[in-house]
């Protein structure tokens, strides 16, 4: 393509500024939304799985079912989980459950005690509502948390003192906070794992381990397999409802973004089509003349398709830039964080926009069928 080609193209672009500007606006809008949604899509999974990880455990490690309370896993299981070093394991909390009695004015009240690691519980259950404060460390033997229902029954509030008894063992603790979870945890008292093991006289034993795994359904499945291999004799199973719900949400979001992009690009193509149809009417005489002068159809069409391609590249570039701003805004509104721009989406956006521009340039392609004799006669 020589300099005359670009010279004519430049003049073509200048001669139809108005209509081409409309087509460019349609393309830029489509590209902006496409780029924004692709950006959001790439970051959405990461952001959402982070969000999901605050919604509690999605994998549970428990002793093989024997129907006996004696089937307790060794606390050393926590070392083996840590030894895996899997970055997808966001948190792991051991639990030892036992029944304890608490002296009250009218005798004693039985209650379920859960010994655990508070730092891990806090990490995977940040949605728990807490009145007061968390127990500062997993080694703390002086403090405990109380579930909301248990606290009401026992008349506990942050700062209250309670005695916990189990057989010959007893321990006096101070309540630092009251938790509301909406689940069975509301009926329980939470102490450090060491306190529970001492009360139950089960040193080094846990009932189960709750694990929070970040990732899609397939990643959760992969971590489950790794854990099963690393923990022979224990059952490792995902909390199916949570894992399935997370996978389903991600799938639906991906599907919605895909169809939204398809719809937006179709609308852009229709916008371009409308502008190009008007342009084709204006240019039919020029094309008839060019053909009369001996212009081969492919050569003439190359001019118009390059023009559409230039519009596509411009629209894609403008749209990508606007899309980054839009993605940041959507990220802020939906996820509460700024979506980081992905430069690898630039070529994708431009290629998609060029494809849309070429699809929208269909009326210009039809100009190749113009019969010069009819056009020059003014028909």
């Amino acid at each position: 393509m020589g300099s005359m080609f670009w010279r004519i193209l430049w003049k073509l672009l200048g001669a139809s500024r108005g209509r081409l500007a409309l087509a460019l606006v349609a393309l830029s809008c489509g590209a902006a939304i496409t780029s924004a949604l692709l950006n959001v899509n790439l970051d959405a999974e990461r952001k959402l799985t982070q969000e999901f990880r605050t919604l509690g455990a999605n994998v549970v490690v428990a002793p093989a079912s024997t129907g006996s309370d004696a089937a307790l896993a060794d606390a050393a299981v926590m070392d083996r989980i840590a030894a895996l070093g899997d970055p997808r394991i966001a948190a792991a909390a051991p639990y030892l459950y036992m029944a304890v009695s608490i002296p009250t004015n009218s005798g004693t009240q039985p209650v379920i005690l859960a010994g655990t690691w508070f730092d891990q519980v806090a990490k995977m259950n940040s949605w728990w509502k807490l009145e007061g404060s968390w127990v500062a460390s997993r080694e703390d033997r002086m403090h405990c948390l109380a579930g909301r229902t248990a606290a009401r029954q026992l008349g506990l509030a942050p700062g209250s003192h309670i005695d916990l008894r189990s057989g010959d063992h007893n321990v006096a603790l101070t309540v630092t906070g009251i938790v509301t979870t909406g689940g069975s945890e509301d009926d329980q008292i939470f102490t450090s794992l060491a306190v529970a093991q001492e009360l139950a006289n089960l040193p080094g034993q846990v009932s189960l381990v709750q694990i929070s795994v970040a990732g899609t359904s397939s990643e959760i499945q992969a971590v489950t397999h790794r854990l099963t291999d690393a923990l022979p004799g224990l059952e490792v199973h995902p909390v199916r409802q949570i894992a399935a719900a997370e996978g389903s949400i991600l799938g639906r979001i991906r599907g919605m973004l895909f169809w939204t992009i398809a719809l937006i690009l179709t609308l852009s193509a229709l916008g371009v089509l409308a502008s190009m149809a008007a342009l084709a009417m204006e240019r039919s005489r020029d094309v008839g003349l060019m053909k009369a002068l001996g212009g081969p159809v492919p050569r003439i069409m190359r001019l118009f398709l390059t023009e559409a391609g230039v519009l596509g590249v411009l629209g894609g570039a403008i749209g990508f830039a606007v899309g980054i701003v839009l993605a940041r805004w959507i990220g802020g509104r939906v996820f509460g964080v700024a979506i980081s721009p992905r430069l690898e989406l630039f070529p994708v956006t431009v290629v998609l926009t060029v494809a849309v521009a070429l699809a929208g340039a269909l009326p210009l392609r039809l100009l190749g069928r113009v019969r010069p004799a009819e056009i020059l006669r003014g028909e």
Binding site: M4, M290, A292, G295, V297, R299, L376
Partner: protein, 225 residues
Amino acid sequence: MTPLVQVRQLEKRFGAICALDHVSFDVEAGEWIAIMGPSGSGKTTLINILGGLDHVTSGQVMVDGLEIGQLGERELTRYRSDKIGFVFQQFHLVPYLTALENVMLAQYFHSITDEKDAAEALRRVGLGDRLEHLPAHLSGGEQQRVAIARALINHPKLILADEPTGNLDEANEAVILNLFRELHSSGHTILVVTHSQAIGNLADRRLELEHGRLARISVPSLAKK
């Protein structure tokens, strides 16, 4: 010597309408032919067929050894680019290209562009100072001179002009006629469709069409002299 143009039993139909009815004639290289006749007599159809813009229904049209009725679309495009120079009544310049670029456009479709040659062609028709003007900024006569420069730029075998002075005032008509005279004297073969007796009188021969038939071929008195 073989005539440059040989038309034998040319028939052109548009549905039931017969635009050209078994027309036959020859044109020698270097001749200036005026095609005359009332509106609807088939003059423009004849020019369009000779220019490769329309297809024949039957008969034979040979131009410079090519039977154009046998040419496909691609060959016809090449034929128009190589052999024909068109001059239209409506000028038909591309409005967003300058005078120079309009001439270069014909070069571009023919082979390669040469800005100096294009500028020289415009100087020859007296538009050396209008190279960068857009058609909208040129008078009718100047636009037609650009069209003539464009028609000549690829050294065509045949110049086909359809009412070249039909949209011009007398002064501009005279300028264009002078240009045609110069082209003729320099050996160009010209076929001009015209209603103008003045142009008809300048030609070597006049082909007169009536209802698609070639009614007569005459030699104007000026040519006889």
